[in-house]
Amino acid sequence: MGIRKIFVLCIMVWLNATSLTISQTTENFSGLYASGKIPKDFTTKSYDKSEQDYLENEDKDLDKDFFLSTRYYIDELLLSGNILFNEKLSKYLNRVASYTLRAESSLKDELRFYVLKSTTANAFSTDQGIIVFTTELLAQLENEAQLAYIIAHEVSHYIEHHVKESYVERQTLEKGKGKYYKMDHESKVAALSVYNKSSEFEADEKGVDIYMNTEYDVDEIYTSFEMLLYSYLPFEDFKFESTFLNSSQLIIPDSYFIDTLNKVSKEFNYDDLNSSHPNIEKRMNNVIMKVGTDKSKGNKKFVISEKEFREVQNLARFENVSITLSQREYGKAIYLSYLLQKEFPNNRFLDLSLVKSLYGLAKYKNANRFSEVSEKPQDIEGESYVLHLFLSDISKDFLNVLAYRFAYDMAEKYMNDSVFKAYEKDMKKELAVRSKFDFTKLKDKAKENYLKELKEVALDFDIEDSLLKIEESDMSKYQKIRRKKELNALRDDLNSSDKVENDDFYLYALHDLVRDKNLIDELENIKKEHEESQQQVETSKEGNKEGENVFKKIVIVDPIFEQFKVNRKKDLIKSERKKEEMSALYDKVYPKLNMKTELLDSKMLTPNSVDEYNALGIMLRWVKELMKHQDIEMICSSNDRVANVKKMYGTEHFLFTGAFAIKQRNEAKAVHFYSILFPYLIPIAVADLLITHNNFELITFVANVDKDEIVFANVADVKLKLHSRVLQAYIYDVMYQLNQVKK
């Protein structure tokens, strides 16, 4: 092999290691990421888009505000890092769309199809020709034909200009013109709802027209409506097996899993009075009438590729597990993992998701915040009800033992995997310290063996007799107390074994570790170490002013800027411009500070910065989760993904910041009216009411991706007008404070 080839190979290996756009498969799933060149929709400034579209617009009913609001809204979504393009899912979506729209090829050129990572089943189109499908919708679809019909439906909205018309209608309503003249509020809302529903009917019908030009089975139009009706449920509704959470050493009694179900309640003719969409029954009837006259019916469920569809569907389902975890819906994540494990047993991602779910539940239970992450079982419909009921019923101790058992078993299964090891280690600490679990109660034998041995002991000697003998013996006072204590404990054990209760079965779940690995000693050591380290933290709180800088390099992640007008509406144009200015101020080199900064900004993307785009999505998801955990010290579910971003930027410190500028006037109070009594004060009162007060808030925090914690936070409530230099002074102050933090 020539040197040149080796060099190229090395470069490729390096690129693979640092790139976030690695190939996505269910076998080695690590997340869905956009790939290739970033489309123009993402790299053009919102203001430029709105300005250009406004100038090209021929519809006189549309004002500038329409273009501004729609462009800014969709750009916020596009630049969230959660959109997929040029990868398997969107490529497949585009192929199905191309086929569905083959009769109108020019139309296809106007449209751009993207996939949004979201656990809400939805699809929508914009007047710009952007059509977005969510991963949950792809996960719920049963076949390609259903996908084709939904594409046709969304394209119909675009063709019929429903977004534009809906905006004009809302404007008419707000101004009380036309048919809304002198209508009360409720009548206006009802009228608008009727209008929106008529748009949906129209899109359904037009969608049928487009769909009929394909070879897809017409019946799949109806099933797609059914799919949408039940899309709030998991993608399958299989019975949850009580043995799923068992391990070799932990058998959960069946009594924990009830047989009754919370039935699925939603019907086809649900109340749609306040909905923008008609109910499914009405839509199906409308479509049946439309299709009824058309004779040309196809019969295919797949045209492009069934294999590809399944692959896309599974990838979407895998990604949704990941999103569900970051949304802290741990019970749901267990059920989804359970469903997927039927098809993908021994899948690393799914095993890890289970560990993460149980770990998360234990953490929140120990912090007495379990209600935040568990859904009320009565609200859960379908088969997953059993699992949710189980999770809400089990005790804190049981949950901790269960979570540790899983973490340990998986760490053993994936021996060389540091991610599993990290969860096992932290769960062990949880068991030792934070759970307040009396781990000395853990048994060193399996339950059946333990009971058997107890009975054998009972046969060997009489406890009451032994107690009497101790009383009479010449042992010291302390020896007597100790012996009597042991015998009483043995008697309690024997009594409890007679009852054969299920309550304490989990105490035997770690018996192999207690016996072979000295788990109790290990837990005790962890507890001691923790207490010692706590004391050290207390004493070293004053900090070191001479040490090395903690923050040598910081990545500033997508600064947020929101400017609000006096009428509390967001000033979209200023917000975008000031955001750019703010990013530049953060990215500026301040010679007096010994700190490097790098900017990861959604508004500075270029066609080639797809890695930055993906990194942005990862970081924003991670930080949202981190914020929700608040004071719970735990590994974020997306920590393993964030590790890749850390490698990419070469630092573990990421700064998140946002400025929110508000203009407001004082509200009229009684004191203003009293000024009438003193005429000289009237001008002052009027001035006090008219003068606008400017203030802004600059929120900054730095998070450490290694520790999954916020290591620096600063909130500046500034009562000044947002002048660039004022902002710079505050930004510099934040950077200075960061620079002062020493090891």
Binding site: K719, L720, V726, Q728, A729, D733, Y736
Partner: protein
């Protein structure tokens, strides 16, 4: 006064050690050049002698200009200290001074003087501002010296005001009698003032500063020269002897006037 000064110094030393300071975009030090306007309760009159008929026209002024230069240092995140020197050309205020020198004769000319103030300011930026930029209040310890030049005192018999308007006051002088030279009259003052102000950033280095200050506590003295008077001309005449008390009063009174509410517009250059 001494105790208050010590207390203020202690508070400042404690406060500034509590906060780490980033300065204004990294600059802790600044040089400031200010234009001050000092209000006069008694309208200041600039008198010009018009011809020999001794008619005096006096334009009225409400604000006297003064200039200052100083050095500022940001001590804490919301604390700033400034040391400055202020200079003003001042004039005595005679029209309503009621300094009756002798036989119903009065000092007709304003006496030109110089005022030198040395001050030390402690500024506390209010919540929502950061040292160097924003709104602040504070205290100023000010030591001032007012000295009248060796100008001639013009004595004369002053008639009633014959004409006046909002901006101009006119007076007829019945007779002008003597020109008298004085020793340099000098008075010192020590005062504690309160400040409120606001700094507007212009560039990364320049800050525009607007400030108002009011005296809180003041102490005046007539300094070294306690026995003011004039050099006698010609023969010794009892009628020419001034009552030194009246000149002391004049100095103190003028000091009072020049230490009323003052407004400041200035530029701070940070480095």
């Amino acid at each position: 006064m001494k105790r208050l000064f010590i207390l203020l110094c202690c508070i400042n030393l404690v406060c500034y050690s509590l906060f780490s300071q980033s300065g204004y975009i990294g600059s802790l030090n600044a040089v400031n050049i200010d234009f001050n306007g000092i209000t006069t309760q008694t309208r200041t009159i600039k008198i010009k002698v018009k011809g020999n008929d001794s008619t005096r026209v006096a334009p009225l002024r409400y604000v006297i200009p003064a200039f200052s230069i100083g050095y500022s240092r940001i001590l804490g995140n919301r604390i700033e200290a400034t040391a400055s020197y202020q200079f003003a050309n001042v004039k005595s205020h005679l029209f309503n001074s009621n300094i009756n020198l002798f036989h119903n004769q009065k000092v007709l000319n304003e006496i030109k003087g110089r005022q030198h103030n040395f001050s030390l300011d402690f500024k506390y930026y209010i919540r929502g501002s950061i040292a160097g930029v924003g709104k602040y209040f504070g205290f100023r310890m000010q030591y001032g010296v007012l000295s009248f030049n060796e100008n001639e005192l013009l004595l004369g018999k002053l008639g009633n005001t014959t004409e006046s308007s909002f901006f101009v006051k006119r007076a007829n002088i019945l007779s002008q009698n003597y020109d008298i030279e004085t020793e340099s009259a000098r008075g010192t003052s020590l005062s504690l003032r309160v400040l409120v102000g606001r700094s507007y950033p212009i560039t990364e280095r320049l800050v525009l500063n607007l400030e108002a200050s009011l005296p809180l506590l003041s102490r005046y003295s007539t300094g070294l020269y306690t026995n003011f008077g004039y050099e006698q001309y010609g023969e010794i005449n009892d009628s020419f002897i001034f009552d030194p008390y009246n000149l002391d009063k004049l100095v103190i009174r003028t000091s009072h006037i020049y230490q009323r509410a003052s407004f400041k517009v200035g530029i701070k250059f940070h480095f």
